[in-house]
């Protein structure tokens, strides 16, 4: 029995070292005064300082944040409506087409999605830039938002909403006053998820955007192609920290809800 426990502990440790090792090394290197990965030249924040003087990088970060905020908003609203249709409308006509189209981007190669979106923009004669970037990201992240909100809606007690309607509330009012507060944490999480995915995307952005709107991953990618650089390590570490904070926030919201539900 002890041997089995030891083996399981070993598997856990090995798994976590594999998952976190490269990230931890990357973050450590961003504080390395030396340019070489194999030489520790002392603790330094000079790469971060250099980063904040890199106008192009800052501009790209601005564009990425703005595109993520906007596209995630559209994706969450669309995702909420789509999730409602999937969770509440039963077996309506064309449901398979609708559900299939919603879930497909989850497994579709990004190069295909990106190319397809670009062709739509060209076909409609839309100049590629910030707008097309937002539209592309909103389409691509919508499926993730839908899946998340759909799961929350399925777990929601429908009789509460029905009770509200029996008491004279319109369906819209009943949904807004009863169900929406119940699924609010999932809606917030869906927004954060869409935001993070948009912020991170390189492939679809490269197809969808124009010369005026280069995103942060595109800028990082063009630098990475030139090799490992401490400045890229620094921006990577900042992004990792940002996502860790967003994840922590999301976990707190979900836990707060679980505890609140338990008390009530």
């Amino acid at each position: 029995m002890n041997a089995a426990r030891l083996a399981r502990l070993g598997a856990l440790v090995a798994g976590f070292v594999f998952l976190y090792g490269p990230i931890v090394i990357l973050a450590t290197m961003s504080f390395n005064a030396s340019r070489l990965v194999t030489v520790w030249g002392g603790f330094s924040t000079k790469w971060y300082a250099a980063l904040f003087h890199d106008e192009q990088m800052l501009r790209a970060a601005q564009i990425s944040l703005a595109a993520a905020a906007l596209s995630a908003l559209i994706a969450t609203i669309n995702g909420l409506l789509a999730a409602l249709a999937l969770a509440r409308f039963g077996a309506f006509r064309t449901r398979a087409l609708f559900a299939g189209s919603i879930y497909a981007p989850l497994v579709m190669p990004e190069v295909v999605l990106g190319l397809g979106l670009l062709l739509v923009f060209v076909a409609f004669g839309v100049e590629r830039g910030f707008l097309t970037l937002v539209l592309a990201h909103a389409s691509f992240t919508m499926c993730f938002a839908t899946v998340m909100i759909h799961a929350a809606l399925k777990g929601c007690d429908r009789t509460l909403e029905e009770a509200a309607m029996d008491l004279g509330a319109t369906p819209v009012r009943a949904f807004a006053l009863v169900t929406l507060p119940l699924i609010a944490p999932s809606v917030v999480s869906a927004y954060l998820l869409a935001f993070i995915i948009s912020l991170d995307d390189l492939v679809i952005a490269s197809f969808a955007t124009g010369p005026g709107a280069t995103t942060l991953p595109m800028r990082i990618y063009s630098q990475v192609r030139l090799g490992v650089s401490p400045e890229v390590n620094a921006i990577s570490t900042l992004l990792l920290g940002f996502v860790a904070a967003a994840l922590g926030l999301s976990a707190l919201i979900t836990r707060g809800r679980a505890e609140g539900g338990g008390a009530g």
């Binding site: 399981r8 502990l9 598997a11 856990l12 090995a14 594999f18 976190y20 490269p22 990230i23 090394i25 990357l26 290197m29 990965v37 194999t38 609203i77 995702g79 409506l81 789509a82 249709a85 409308f89 039963g90 309506f92 006509r93 398979a96 609708f98 299939g100 879930y103 497909a104 497994v107 579709m108 190669p109 990004e110 190069v111 295909v112 190319l115 062709l119 389409s139 919508m142 839908t146 369906p171 993070i196 912020l199 991170d200 390189l202 492939v203 490269s206 197809f207 991953p217 990618y221 990475v224 192609r225 090799g227 490992v228 990577s236 992004l239 990792l240 996502v243 860790a244 994840l247 976990a251």
Partner: protein, 305 residues
């Protein structure tokens, strides 16, 4: 669930709800596919956009017929004749297949260990195991460059230990691409495996053990078969995106590491051959159609529950 019953019409209120998402997916998901197929059938041209339209209604019906007669399979003929494409397909399938297998081998003991941890620790452990997935994909791939390069950390450590005299050529190889895929997509494998193992009834294992099965026999005859669905789901979730991957082969692979996603990218961005890129996209989807349908069916079944 009335999944097999009569399909009903939507009420007016329901139509209001579904209109926006439906219009959105029609415009930004279904239309792109129609266009990819259309462009893949047209001729490359040195214009902007760089292709000759197949269907252009400006010339009326006569023009339409004339255009239809020019309907070209040229881009596909290129695909079939060009060894570059055939090699990219085979190499994409091989690399994705090997990576999926290694991912399963790495993830299974990990998932098993999490699923058998004390109940109260499980959500925390699985949370931490999946957390890296939410961090930047690009950055996680990039992190491996510093490890795998000739002058990178792994070679440095091996040489310092005296295990090797010259750096092992790991970076810019297909092997590095496999490592990158396993690392990046591990959570996709881990989650379904964990769900399949954690949901098993422990009394089945106890019964097998009571009847004299060794721990290995219990694993092979009870745990492993019962986690079959998790294995299939995880393998699909790793294999499908891995086949069409661009970032990993581009950053970790050598110039001779051909993968179809990378070939499509180069056709589009470097060669500006939109019909060839579109034909590659159609061919990639055809390749993935079966695994994607398999996955969709599982999703819809889950959905109907």
């Amino acid at each position: 669930m009335p999944e097999s019953g009569k399909r009903r019409k939507l009420t007016r209120g329901e139509m209001l709800v579904i209109a926006a998402p439906y219009a959105w997916i029609a415009l930004f998901f279904l239309a792109p596919f129609a266009l990819i197929v259309k462009i893949s059938l047209s001729q490359p041209a040195q214009t902007r956009p760089p292709y000759e339209p197949v269907l252009d209604l400006a010339n009326g019906v006569a023009g339409l017929f004339e255009k239809l007669s020019q309907f070209g399979l040229g881009a596909y003929r290129g695909l079939a004749e060009d060894n570059l494409y055939l090699d990219s397909y085979l190499s994409s399938l091989t690399i994705a297949g090997v990576a999926t297998l290694i991912c399963l081998i790495v993830a299974y003991p990990f998932a098993l260990a999490i699923a058998r941890a004390p109940r109260r620790l499980r959500p925390i452990l699985i949370g931490f195991a999946v957390a890296p997935f939410w961090t930047s994909f690009l950055i996680r791939v990039y992190a491996w460059i510093a490890l795998l390069k000739d002058e990178g950390l792994i070679n440095h450590a091996l040489m310092a230990l005296g295990l090797i005299d010259a750096p092992l050529p790991m970076f810019a190889t297909s092997g590095a691409v496999v490592v990158g895929i396993v690392y990046s997509y591990l959570p996709f494998m881990l989650l379904p495996l964990y769900a399949a193992i954690e949901g098993q009834d422990a009394s089945l294992r106890e019964a097998a053990a009571d009847l004299g099965a060794t721990p290995l026999q219990v694993f092979l005859h009870v745990t492993l078969p019962l986690s079959r669905r998790g294995i299939v789901a995880g393998a699909l979730l790793v294999f499908i995106p891995a086949v069409g991957e661009f970032v990993i082969p581009d950053l970790l692979g050598g110039s001779d590491t051909l993968m179809i996603g990378r070939t499509l990218w180069n056709d589009f961005f470097a060669n500006r051959d939109w019909p060839a890129a579109s034909a590659a996209a159609v061919a990639l989807l055809a390749l993935l159609l079966f695994p994607i349908l398999l996955y969709e069916r599982a999703q819809l079944r889950e959905d109907a529950r």
